[in-house]
């Protein structure tokens, strides 16, 4: 299947999810509690999976320890310290640029 169709089907599925409440369901309480509980965890699960996959793996192989891991640790540290998206991104980007420039 072409990439166009993959995006199209993903878009249709995503749009149906987006209208599920505001057009179809209209009441959060009608979502069963276990499903609601699981949906609350989608964000951390999806983002956690993507972070770990991109940070530690490179095309199914282990990524060699270096700038990616150190800069990510800096970004996580600043995120926990300042509780700020902007500061976390800035610190991670600066650390990564410095490490790359240093040849790591």
């Amino acid at each position: 299947m072409s990439i166009w169709l993959i995006f199209l089907f993903a878009a249709i599925g995503t749009y149906l999810i987006r209208i599920s409440g505001v057009v179809l369901l209209k009441d959060e309480e009608r979502i069963p509690a276990p499903v609601r509980r699981a949906l609350r965890m989608v964000g951390p699960a999806a983002m956690g999976a993507i972070i770990v996959n991109s940070l530690f793996l490179d095309h199914q192989e282990w990524r060699e320890f270096g700038a990616w891991h150190i800069a990510a640790a800096v970004a996580i540290g600043v995120a926990l310290w300042r509780r700020s998206q902007g500061w976390s991104m800035l610190a991670g980007a600066v650390a990564f640029a410095a490490l790359i420039a240093a040849g790591l």
């Binding site: 995503t14 409440g21 276990p34 949906l39 965890m41 991109s54």
Partner: protein, 262 residues
């Protein structure tokens, strides 16, 4: 003197939209940068840039779009790419349900249009107006937050698609993917159940790193959700059993308030 309408939109509606835009403005840079990273990733993966732009304008959800590109690059069957994307975007069901009572008075075409523009950030911003009694104010505020946020995302993608091939490989722009998600995810982490979720997802992603088609991410997300939700259910049961006198149900919560971009 009475102010005239612009583009057929009255001054009060413009003001409501402006308020929405201001409420989301601090997150706009992140949206643009993430769009740029997605555009560059599309070029890096050798995918038709027009298809990448089509994806950005139709799916309008960055994490799932990146998952599609990565799984296509890994040679995954189309159904795996599509299901992974839909799974990642399942969280919108919760936003949609939470917004339903706020938007129930809106005309159908408004609800359908705003749903298309729904992102984690714009949903959270729109929910801040839950005590606003005027539905006209609520809908223009929601539009003022959601539309510019998505426009910036699309523009960022276009810049990334154009600049992608000229960005030196040594810059390793792919690092924006974990960095962006760290910046979105970590500042909002508060509950132990979220840590269990991440640990569960991470363990499966790493243990399954040899699985084909990027299935480790798909299965990892499901495993993380089950682990986190089970842990939370166990925690609540334990709390209720141990201290029946003080146990109170927690108010409904949304997924990570910082959320995906877009």
């Amino acid at each position: 003197m009475k102010r005239a309408s612009v583009l057929g939109i009255g001054p009060a509606e413009w003001q409501h939209s402006w308020d929405g835009l201001r409420a989301i403005s601090s997150l706009m840079v992140g949206s643009a940068l993430f769009g740029l990273a997605f555009g560059a990733l599309v070029r890096d993966a050798g995918i038709n840039p027009w298809a990448g732009l089509f994806g950005t304008m139709t799916v309008v959800a960055g994490a799932s779009q990146i998952a599609i590109v990565e799984s296509v690059r890994a040679g995954a069957p189309a159904i795996v790419s599509i299901l992974t994307a839909i799974l990642i975007n399942a969280r919108f069901a919760l936003y949609s349900a939470a917004l339903a009572p706020l938007w129930s008075a809106f005309p159908l075409k408004w609800r359908m249009g705003l749903a298309y523009l729904m992102t984690d950030q714009s949903a959270v911003v729109a929910l801040r107006e839950r005590d606003e009694p005027d539905p006209i104010r609520r809908r223009w505020f929601a539009l003022g937050a959601a539309l510019p946020f998505v426009l910036v995302w699309v523009l960022g993608t276009i810049v990334g698609l154009i600049l992608g091939p000229v960005i030196p490989a040594a810059w390793q722009v792919g690092f924006i993917v974990p960095l962006m998600f760290i910046a979105v995810l970590v500042p909002g982490l508060q509950r132990p159940a979220e840590l269990v979720t991440i640990a569960g997802a991470a363990a499966v992603v790493l243990l399954g790193h040899t699985w084909p088609f990027g299935l480790n991410v798909f299965v990892g997300i499901i495993a993380g959700m089950i682990a986190g939700a089970s842990f939370e259910a166990w925690q609540e049961k334990r709390r209720a059993g141990a201290a029946a006198t003080t146990a109170q149900p927690e108010p409904p919560e949304l997924p990570d308030p910082a959320g995906d971009v877009p």
